[in-house]
């Protein structure tokens, strides 16, 4: 029986987020102190050894990323927290920032020390205006107490574009430009914000850092799936009894998330599919539910872990209609910079509407598959590469539902 394990949400409900003394009473900022007593190479080595991998979706080794920025020569470096949290159905970062803002600040400050940065930014989702004052209060408290020393953090609100969750689009947005991705390389750790070495990590990633420093890399590396250790926060929505959140070790299976933590499907209906990782996630059928939620095991079934958003649909839902709405979402959110995404998301939406309205044929499905496949490896950024996943996976696992639409 899988059990919940709270690392990033360790202080949830235990402290008043607006009182720094509450956080300090839980041992807060001790890890920052400990980190500053280490030399930066050892500190980065420790993070690397923990095998903490980015919780934003790409799953890159966090310590490795830091080492690139630490090794880059520059007068100024930056630490950015990606708090854009634009995936529909995801609110894990909000939970952390709303209930325990200091754990984020402490994580960012440790990173800043490790790479030699004095300026940080929290790029906050445009729809979270109510968190601005919480974050600023926490930043000012940490500053007043001298805990973060010369490290400054500025909160920047996004303007609602989904693509700004992509790290280079986020950087462009902070620079005051259109929120559009850059081509990579160069990657942000060598050339990021204002062309300076920059670390962009997700809120959940930073929230892990103080605990890793406190309890050690070996402790962390031993939790959950060895290739993607630690915990992951899941936010459950859709046709599920417990529409709430859980933090579980990464060895937990999808079935456990849906049926044990989620309490199964309401109204005695049957499970149809679950989409994990947000709107661009794959739809996963019953047959693959015993897959562990770790990064690589998800990749192996053609899915992604993404943000951990878990959207369940039951047998009564029209999955082609769901995929059509998602296609419309991507048409709306494509930034328009690269041709295959700009035109491809629009054509995908058009073809999906055609099929959903009963005007489609197998030829359209085949075209969708070709288009989606090309987009997945030709588009400039993750948005366009991932956008076809819901369509491609529903065609793969639920082809009969498509055929049923043909008149």
């Amino acid at each position: 029986m899988a059990e919940e394990m709270r690392i990033v949400l360790r202080n949830y409900g235990k402290i008043d987020p607006l009182k720094i003394d509450d956080y300090l009473a839980q041992g807060g900022y001790k890890s920052l102190e400990k980190a500053r007593a280490m030399n930066t190479a050892d500190l980065i080595a420790e993070v690397k050894k923990s095998n903490l991998r980015g919780r934003g979706g790409a799953g890159f080794n966090c310590g490795m990323k830091w080492s690139f920025a630490a090794g880059a020569q520059a007068e100024q470096k930056y630490v950015i927290c990606n708090a854009d949290e634009g995936e529909p159905g995801t609110y894990k970062d909000r939970l952390i920032m709303e209930n325990d803002p200091h754990t984020l600040i402490e994580g960012m400050a440790i990173c800043a020390y490790a790479i030699g940065a004095t300026q940080g930014y929290i790029y906050l989702r445009g729809e979270y205006p109510f968190l601005v004052s919480t974050l600023n209060t926490a930043i000012n408290q940490a500053k007043e107490k001298g805990l973060v020393k010369d490290f400054d953090i500025e909160v920047r609100s996004g303007a609602g574009a989904y693509v700004c969750g992509e790290e280079t689009a986020l950087i462009e947005s902070i620079e005051g430009k259109r929120g559009e991705p850059r081509f990579k390389p160069p990657y942000p750790p060598s050339e990021g914000l204002w062309s300076k070495p920059t670390i962009v990590n997700n809120v959940e990633t930073f929230a892990n850092i103080p605990v890793i420093i406190e309890k050690g890399a070996d402790w962390y590396a031993g939790i959950g799936n060895p290739a993607y250790p630690g915990t992951k926060v899941f936010t459950l929505t859709g046709d599920i009894n417990n529409r709430t959140f859980f933090e579980v070790p990464t060895s937990t299976t999808i079935r456990e998330i849906v049926f044990q933590f989620g309490g199964g499907i309401p109204g005695g209906k049957k499970f149809k599919a679950v989409q994990i990782g947000g709107t661009s996630g794959a739809f996963i059928p019953e047959a693959l539910l015993d897959t562990p939620v770790a990064f690589d095991s998800m990749s192996a079934i053609g899915a992604t872990l993404g943000s951990g958003a878990t959207f369940v649909i039951d047998e009564s839902r029209d999955i082609v209609d769901v995929a059509t709405r998602i296609a419309g979402f991507f048409e709306h959110e494509s930034c328009g910079k690269c041709a295959p995404c700009r035109e491809g998301t629009a054509r995908t939406a058009e073809l999906m509407e055609k099929i959903n309205e009963g005007r489609g044929s197998n030829k359209d499905v085949a075209l969708l598959e070709k288009l989606g496949t090309v987009m997945s490896y030709s588009c400039l950024c993750g948005l366009g590469q991932a956008a076809p996943a819901p369509v491609l996976t529903t065609i793969k696992h639920f082809k009969a539902d498509y055929e049923a639409k043909f008149v």
Binding site: F183, C335, A339, P340, R342, E343, A346, Y377, S378
Partner: protein
């Protein structure tokens, strides 16, 4: 050096090279659309994608730097399917009226559609249906044809620092639009036309006026005359499949007669005249404490730029009209009288490397002959089309000479076509006027070449005159900021709006790379070298003009016909 393998061929290239550069080293062409050799990397069209071993994603060859041991495959089925699908996507909303398009036969998208055998497009054909923008007399925009490569935006903002074009909307609704989404005429656009060269397709072009020309030729009451700008001859060859500079002047003149011109004259004549007027204006300003530095005023894109962005510096502009407009004013006065032709019957056509000249000719200030001084401006490209329409074989055409009284010229006029040429021509004359000595070596190396900002100093019998030359408006802006700050060390500044000068003008054969501009510059100086007369004040027809009509530079008649004043544009958004 970095060693890699492309399609099984080993290649060694400098560190920092891209796959695209490495592939071209071994003769492998990778298709591109957003790539421009003189611009920043954009990587947005994605038609250059290739497979890089060990990478799930295809990589854009234009952007991906090479690394040691890299294995690249540019023609796998996966790559070809991706490229073809991307082209189909772009073409699915691109108007399929290639036959009517101004870029038919000279379009990067059309070429790729052909190369990739795009026949039946699986995506539904859906043109966006935007209104075309014909608000300026110089260029038009056809938004429907735009493939959003953004090359025009970079030309306008980075090369020209005009920033008239930007992006609006997102995703499928993205558009390249003039400032604030308004018509081009209400934007800061200076009509230089560099966006035309940057555009890979037919989304921007010159306002073609071939029909107006043909109507004038067909009208028996009209005497159709022409003047040719110095930068046109070197480039016109490119329009008819010859090498840059290869069209002999005599053959060119014959070609113009064949397409219907009654008299063929030369802007070079008025370029020599400009030197006498402008050179004397400079000397007068130096002597009498006039506004300095003095700026040249031949480039209409530059004039628009100065009126728009530096209205406080208009007094620095030479009052001389451009050679085109000097010619225009004289053709319907001096020349008409000398030839005994009723000026109201003269239809004066200028052949220019420039689209801003179309705007300049239509300025209300340019009617000093009592008529519109220049009736029609055709670009080098339009003349190219007329030549192709005529079916002439230029390799067999017998040579012909210019007509009299405004057809003779010196090498000093020829070099007006290249950045630094006006300055060099002025120095050749000013030196002799001031010192009374003969200038033995007429070549001023410091003023030549495509470098953005050049400077030189000339000793005129003890007085050192400092000069600067800028081509491309972003470079001009640097010099203007110096002047505005009161820190400019110069007496005389030559500005040409277009990179390389008029040889790179917005009306020239579509010029993707600066290397082509350099070739044309070389052809210009070769022409100058080969001429017997190389100083403007030695032009015999200009001498006759002063003796019989103008009497002296800056005299009463000159002021009436050859000089003008400029006005602030008062664009509200600035």
């Amino acid at each position: 050096m970095v060693n890699l393998t492309i399609d099984g061929i080993k290649v060694s290239v400098p560190e920092g090279s891209t796959i695209l550069q490495a592939a071209s080293e071994v003769g492998i062409k990778i298709p591109t659309l957003c790539f421009h050799p003189d611009q920043s990397i954009k990587a947005n069209c994605r038609v250059c994608v290739c497979e890089v071993e060990g990478n799930r994603l295809l990589q854009a060859a234009c952007a991906m730097p090479v690394f040691e041991g890299m294995v690249v495959k540019t023609r796998t089925p996966k790559v070809l399917e991706a490229r073809k699908t991307i082209l189909e996507l772009i073409l699915s909303n691109h108007p399929q009226d290639c036959l009517n398009c101004i870029r038919n036969g000279n379009c990067e998208l059309q070429d790729l559609a052909q190369e990739y055998c795009i026949r039946e497009n699986p995506f539904e054909y859906k043109v966006r249906g935007f209104a075309k923008d014909f608000s300026t007399p110089a260029l038009f925009r056809d938004q429907d044809k735009c493939i959003l490569c953004r090359r025009c935006i970079e030309a306008c903002s980075v090369v020209q620092s005009v920033n008239a074009l930007g992006l609006e909307g997102r995703g499928y609704n993205s558009m390249v639009v003039p400032t604030l989404g308004k018509a081009l005429i209400d934007s800061p656009c200076v009509m230089c036309g560099q966006c035309i060269h940057a555009c890979p397709v037919g989304a921007i072009g010159e306002r073609e006026q071939i029909d107006e020309f043909l109507a004038a030729v067909a009208n028996p009451d009209k005497v159709v005359i022409t003047q040719i700008a110095p930068a046109v001859r070197v480039a016109i060859a490119e329009e008819i499949g010859m090498m840059t500079g290869e069209m002999p002047m005599g053959t060119f003149v014959q070609g113009l007669r064949q397409i219907g011109f009654d008299y063929v004259l030369h802007t070079n004549f008025s370029a020599d005249l400009t030197i006498l007027e402008e050179g004397n204006e400079l000397l007068k300003r130096l002597k009498e404490g006039g506004t300095l530095p003095m700026f040249t005023s031949c480039s209409p894109g530059w004039i628009n730029f100065c009126e728009t962005f530096y209205p406080d510096l208009l007094d620095n502009l030479s009052t001389c009209k451009s050679p085109q407009q000097m010619f225009g004013a004289l053709a319907k006065t001096y020349w008409a009288e000398k030839m005994g032709i009723d000026p109201s019957k003269i239809y004066s056509v200028s052949i220019m490397p420039c689209v801003a000249k179309k705007f300049e000719a239509a300025r209300p200030e340019m009617n000093d002959s009592g008529y519109q001084d220049v009736d029609l401006v055709l670009t080098t490209r339009e003349i190219g089309r007329l030549f192709r329409m005529s079916g002439l074989d230029f390799s067999k055409l017998p040579a012909s000479d210019f007509d009299s009284w405004m057809g003779k010229y010196t090498g000093a006029a020829v070099i007006f076509g290249a950045s630094g040429g006006v300055m060099e021509a002025a120095l050749r004359t000013v030196y002799e006027v001031v010192t009374g000595k003969t200038l033995e070596d007429v070549n001023f190396a410091a003023t030549r070449g495509i470098t953005g900002i050049k400077e030189a100093a000339v000793d005129l019998d003890g007085t050192v005159v400092k000069v600067a030359i800028a081509n491309g408006l972003a470079n001009a802006r640097k010099l203007m900021e110096q002047v505005r700050a009161g820190e400019s060390p110069y007496h005389f500044i030559e500005i040409m709006a277009c990179p390389g000068g008029c040889i790179g003008g917005g009306g020239q054969p579509i010029t993707k790379a600066n290397v082509k501009r350099v070739e044309r510059i070389e052809a210009i100086y070769a022409e100058d070298e080969g001429l017997p007369l190389r100083k403007s004040h030695d032009n015999p027809e200009v001498k006759t003009l002063y003796e019989e009509f103008l009497h002296e530079p800056l005299g009463h008649k000159s002021h009436e016909l050859l000089h003008t004043h400029y006005h602030p544009k008062n664009k509200k958004f600035l």
